[in-house]
């Protein structure tokens, strides 16, 4: 099934999505790999910081915080 791709920053709190492409290069890309942000991984947006940024994500059972700027470069397929 083909899904629509949206930036991770557009996913609502409580929603889950599957990573399609990680549009990030350089050392940060390898850091995100090490943290489990790989293509095909399911992530859930858990919370937004009080001032609207950054995001709190759940990936591989732990909590990771990313700014919307970086999350906007990660394309995901929302899960129903």
């Amino acid at each position: 099934m083909r899904c629509t791709q949206v930036p991770l920053s557009d996913i609502a709190v409580g929603q889950s999505a599957v990573i399609v492409t990680l549009g990030i290069t350089g050392p940060l890309r390898r850091r995100l790999f090490a943290l489990g942000m790989l293509t095909g991984e399911t992530i859930t947006v858990r919370r937004v910081a009080p001032l609207g940024d950054p995001l709190e994500l759940e990936v591989k059972g732990y909590r990771l915080s990313l700014r919307k700027a970086e999350a906007g470069r990660i394309l995901v397929a929302p899960r129903a």
Binding site: L28, R31, E56, G61, R67
Partner: protein
């Protein structure tokens, strides 16, 4: 006796430091990694005649060069070849932790897994089978080692012993996909022909890193004689691009996570329904949309108050110890040795007074570091960065900048060192440039004395205004610097794990706080000692000078005085106080007191006390200080209720009368603004130079000379135009 050299590796927040403490106890040595601002801790312990030396590597998510910490951990494992690498692994977060494990296996280092947080895993309904995990990882031994449970450590100690007596090694890690494995083999063969590389790095490991595109290691290929490797790498990448496109690094990372997932699938029994964790419930409040920021500010206010209140009695005790008994004993001893008068004067007024002026900060710092270590170990500091990142972004700062800035209110020196936690260099340096505008506790005595003398009705208001002006100037400087000097530099990505909350381990908290405090004593102590001796010389040259105005110091001050005339305080006394204030801000007050009050406070009573009296006095004083600190701790923790009211009112001193004669209220305000904003102290400049280099320390110096002069002059002249002063 045989020695086993063991390196402790692992992700951040897995209880590695707690394990290190539990293993080595007090037999630890702490310093920096050579040439790095990364803390290195090592220690030893004995198991049945075997000496085990443990090196606590910095926490790392991977063996790449993303941060200085990870580079240190990688270089140690790969280049120093420890006898054994113990990978500390969080049982409650196994899959992600095993990513680092697979990378360590790639280095070929002898490996053992220590499983921590098994209690947390159990709470979450997870059950980890150590034998199955070991099998899934090709026979790497897996030992449960939750430090709080002593049984776990016994198993780890036995494992070390078995290892030293010839434990079987684990199998090599499984191969990557065939195309990648072929490329690795070709590249490794090319690397093996270059002795300078092959000696330092395992060829196969280096080949993997090069294919992944590690910038630091790719830099090695720039050397001319490594051209064949660069060519082989380019050819391999071209071939792999046909299969993987631009995702060669992704394919390698996926292969590692496949191993990790397979191991978890074999060894971990998951709960049927996910448990809503304690952490999640806490976070619903602490990072709440509306409550999050107030909670953060309240916590910082509490920490700040603790530092001020709990440390003050000890501060008085140390001050008394140095100016009283210690000075008396030194004088007596030097008299016994028939030392010339100048040696006595140098020892008492230079060395003892100088060292004393550093040590009075120690109680405050220790309390501050204890509070911060508690917040960090509990998991709150990561939330503070999460909550504050957006607000600080407007100033070009990072979420993690907040802690160093808050620390600056206590003392600027440790605040500068605390910027280390910010990975991005420009955000780190910018934070370090703004710290001097945080009004440190040494500036408070100046505000108090001037406020009491010139604005007896509104002293509190003046003091609070100073703190506020400091924050406003820091924000303005941040806005300007982030758009000029740091323009386009970016503040770095915000990639931060929010670890589960947990009860802090007190030995770990204490060790961390003490390490930082001891570091301050060592570094600041040397600088301040040197400067106080130099200042003493300036005040006493030409030799035998009686009026401070005629000393070298007085002449320098007189020369500088006209510079301050536009700001309303162009007297040599004010200039002199500001010059000595560069050593430490509270010295401004003591210098003014000495000059105006004609050294009235030096009329020490004749020395009739005995060593016994002094010892009793010192011990009794410490007891009293502890009682007082206890009272204040209770007061601070029960806001709004004053359990132990302050006694007495500050009396009218010679100094305040003199200040009223010398300063108009407007000139006083201009002087206080100058004190707030100018060079915090030599120790801060030294710390900035050490952390960011002399170029940045010089910029900070220029900024903290030009800005205060401009602000003080503007305020004074504007006030005059409006008819004040």
């Amino acid at each position: 006796m045989p020695t086993l050299r063991v390196a402790l590796a692992g992700n951040p927040n897995v209880g590695k430091s707690t394990l290190f403490n539990a293993l080595t106890g007090a037999r630890q040595h702490v310093g920096n990694w050579p040439g790095k601002t990364v803390m290195q801790a090592s220690g030893t312990f004995q198991v049945d005649g075997l000496t085990v030396e443990v090196i606590d590597l910095p926490g790392a998510y991977s063996l790449s060069s993303f941060s200085p910490e990870e580079a240190v951990a990688r270089d140690y494992i790969v280049c120093e070849q420890p006898d054994l690498v113990v990978d500390v692994v969080d049982a409650a977060n196994l899959e992600r932790n095993l990513y680092l494990t697979t990378q360590i296996r790639e280095t070929g280092a002898p490996l053992l897994l220590a499983l921590t947080m098994t209690d947390l895993a159990t709470q979450r309904g997870l059950c980890v089978d150590c034998h199955a995990l070991s099998d899934a990882l090709g026979g790497v031994p897996v030992v449960p080692a939750t430090a709080q449970q002593n049984g776990g450590l016994a198993a780890l100690r036995t494992a070390f012993q078995r290892w030293a007596t010839g434990e079987t090694r684990a199998e090599a890690p499984p191969p990557f996909d065939p195309p990648i494995e072929d490329a690795i083999t070709t590249l490794a063969a090319a690397i093996a022909t270059q002795p300078d590389l092959a000696r330092r790095y395992p060829p196969r490991w280096l080949a993997i890193q090069l294919l992944e595109g590690d910038e630091e290691l790719l830099g090695l290929l720039a050397a001319a004689d490594h051209a064949p490797i660069a060519a082989a790498l380019a050819a391999s990448r071209d071939r792999l691009r046909q299969t993987y496109g631009d995702d060669i690094d992704l394919a390698i990372a996926e292969a590692r996570y496949r191993q990790a997932r397979a191991a978890v699938a074999r060894a971990v029994r998951q709960p049927a329904t996910p448990v809503v964790t304690f952490s999640e419930r806490v976070d619903r409040v602490v990072t709440h949309r509306i409550l999050g920021i107030p909670i953060f500010l309240a916590l910082m206010y509490l920490v700040f108050n603790l530092v001020q209140n709990v440390s003050a009695p000890y501060l008085d005790w140390i001050d008394g110890l140095f100016s009283g008994p210690l000075t008396r004993r030194a004088v007596a001893l030097l008299a016994l040795l028939h030392a010339p008068a100048w040696i006595t004067a140098l020892t008492v007024d230079g060395v003892i007074a100088g060292v004393g002026s550093v040590l009075v900060f120690v109680p405050g710092l220790l309390v501050l570091y204890l509070a911060l270590a508690l917040l960090e170990d509990s998991g709150y500091l990561a939330r503070a960065a999460f909550v504050m990142d957006r607000a600080l972004g407007a100033l070009g700062l990072h979420g993690k900048s907040f802690i160093p800035l808050i620390l600056g209110f206590g003392c600027n020196v440790p605040a500068v060192y605390a910027t280390r936690t910010i990975e991005n260099r420009s955000a780190r340096v910018l934070t370090g440039m703004l710290i001097p505008f945080m009004s440190c506790s040494a500036r408070l005595p100046v505000y108090v004395v001037f406020g009491m003398a010139l604005f007896p009705q509104n002293a509190d208001l003046v003091i609070w205004a100073m703190y506020l002006v400091g924050i406003v100037v820091a924000a303005a400087a941040g806005l300007v610097l982030s758009r000029t000097v740091f323009a386009g530099a970016g503040r770095g990505a915000f990639v931060l794990e929010l670890p589960p909350y947990r009860l802090p381990s007190l030995p770990t908290v204490w060790r961390q706080a003490w390490q930082h405090t001891a570091g301050f004593i060592r570094k600041a102590g040397t600088v301040i000692l040197a400067v106080s001796v130099a200042l003493w010389l300036l005040l006493n040259l030409p030799w035998g000078v009686s009026d401070p105005r005629d000393s070298a110091f007085g002449r320098v001050s007189s020369t500088l005085a006209p510079l301050f005339a536009p700001a309303g305080f162009g007297t040599w006394q004010a200039a002199g106080a500001l010059v000595t204030g560069v050593m430490a801000k509270e010295v401004v007050v003591s210098t003014l007191a000495q000059i105006y009050a004609g050294q009235a406070d030096e009329a020490e009573s004749a020395d009739t006390t005995t060593v016994g009296d002094d010892l009793a006095g010192v011990a009794g004083g410490f007891g009293l200080a502890t009682v007082e600190a206890g009272k204040r701790l209770l007061d601070t923790l029960t806001p709004g209720v004053t359990l132990f009211p302050e006694e007495g009112e500050p009396e009218e001193t010679v100094l305040s009368q003199a200040l009223r004669m010398a300063f108009t209220p407007l000139a006083g305000i201009a002087f206080l603004l100058f004190v707030l904003l100018y060079v915090p102290c030599v120790a801060t400049i030294g710390a900035q130079a050490q952390e960011f280099g002399w170029r940045w320390a010089s910029l900070s110096l220029v900024m903290t000379l030009v800005l205060p002069w401009t602000v003080a002059t503007l305020v004074y002249q504007a006030g005059r135009l409006l008819g004040a002063g």
